[in-house]
Symmetry: C2
Subunit: 215 residues, 2 copies
């Protein structure tokens, strides 16, 4: 029993958070999520079995990391919407935020969409909820644009709207991954990813604009 502040207390305080931070740090440093649970524990300065008081599983820990990523991504997207004007501008802002998050956190992004999703079932419901809402946000933007006549989409046609949603999401998701994986880098090596992303987005948006608005 030592009341000196510098002595490590038996109880950690917030070990759950500390473990998450350690795991996230390792993920960011190595780009891999096949680290050992024991290494995470070592890093948090705790014995290897302590994590089982906070996570049922190694997989559960990793899922929790992925969840924080989903939440951050969602925050980025909604923040981007707030600062944007017009349907096209909003769409662009969302895409930019999305890609920006992925490029800034490549390993986390790959974890979220690579391992955490071995088919969407069996996911922590929390992750699923965030993804669902993210899609709803995108759909809302496109729908609003369609209603305002900014896009050549019939807002009453569910299918057509869905196609646009899937198209936009696919483009942004694919671009993010190709950029992370450096496949894009070898095609064009842009000063800034943003510039390329903007031009790629243009190609999509041109396809969405009504005839008179194009080019």
């Amino acid at each position: 029993m030592n009341t000196v502040a510098s002595a490590a207390p038996y109880h950690h305080g917030d070990l759950r958070r500390a473990l998450l931070d350690s795991a996230t740090a390792i993920l960011a440093e190595t780009g891999r999520w096949d680290f050992s649970l024991r290494e995470v524990a070592r890093r948090a300065g705790v014995s290897h079995a302590a994590s089982y008081r906070h996570f049922t599983d190694k997989e559960a820990l990793i899922a929790a990391v992925a969840l924080t990523g989903c939440e951050t991504l969602h925050t980025c997207m909604t923040a981007a919407i707030d600062g944007a004007k017009g349907a096209v501008g909003t769409l662009r802002a969302i895409g930019q935020a999305y890609i920006g998050f992925g490029v800034a956190n490549p390993a986390l992004y790959r974890l979220m969409f690579g391992q955490a999703l071995p088919s969407i079932e069996g996911l922590p419901p929390a992750v699923l909820a965030v993804l669902t809402e993210a899609r709803a946000v995108l759909r809302g933007v496109i729908l609003a644009g369609a209603r305002a006549g900014a896009f050549a989409i019939d807002p009453e046609d569910e299918q057509e709207v869905s196609v646009a949603v899937v198209t936009a999401w696919s483009l942004v998701h694919g671009f993010t991954l190709l950029t992370i994986d450096r496949v894009v880098d070898r095609e064009v090596r842009p000063q800034v990813i943003d510039a390329l992303a903007a031009r790629v987005a243009d190609r999509l948006i041109i396809g969405l604009l009504p005839i008179q608005g194009r080019r």
Copy 2:
């Protein structure tokens, strides 16, 4: 020493191939590539250390599996080109072949673009070569279309062509992954993926067409 044919011979014959097949089978069945090397060996009816005569590493085995996937994908793409006419038709055919491969081999696809690519460096050069050629094929198609006036792209503008290549690849890659991960399924549940893919592709292609060709 037993000359009876039914006795298992000491030498396997083509163990390398057998190990690859086992690993591929496990991958397809479970959707995961964190299987144990020992399980692969068991499946091939061989002792746990035998694989080290054919693969330096567990990672090497997995990379080899990914390589076969890359080759198959490349084959699918080139085959699709042969049967297609016109720039738009060819582009559509490539996309369809690409998506079809991904959907038919979800785990393999995810392995190829999820784990085998922790940034493109450090990849087996063979994989890299296949990817590079795949991109060249796509670029060739788009360039040809641009030269023929089928797309609103200046064939002399390297950047513009590259943007189109990245856009097309991003869209197809993203769509494939979202479909594999069942994210798309919850947006629209199409009778066939093909129909959705075609409509998504249309959105891209409309953006590529010259003005007079649209809609």
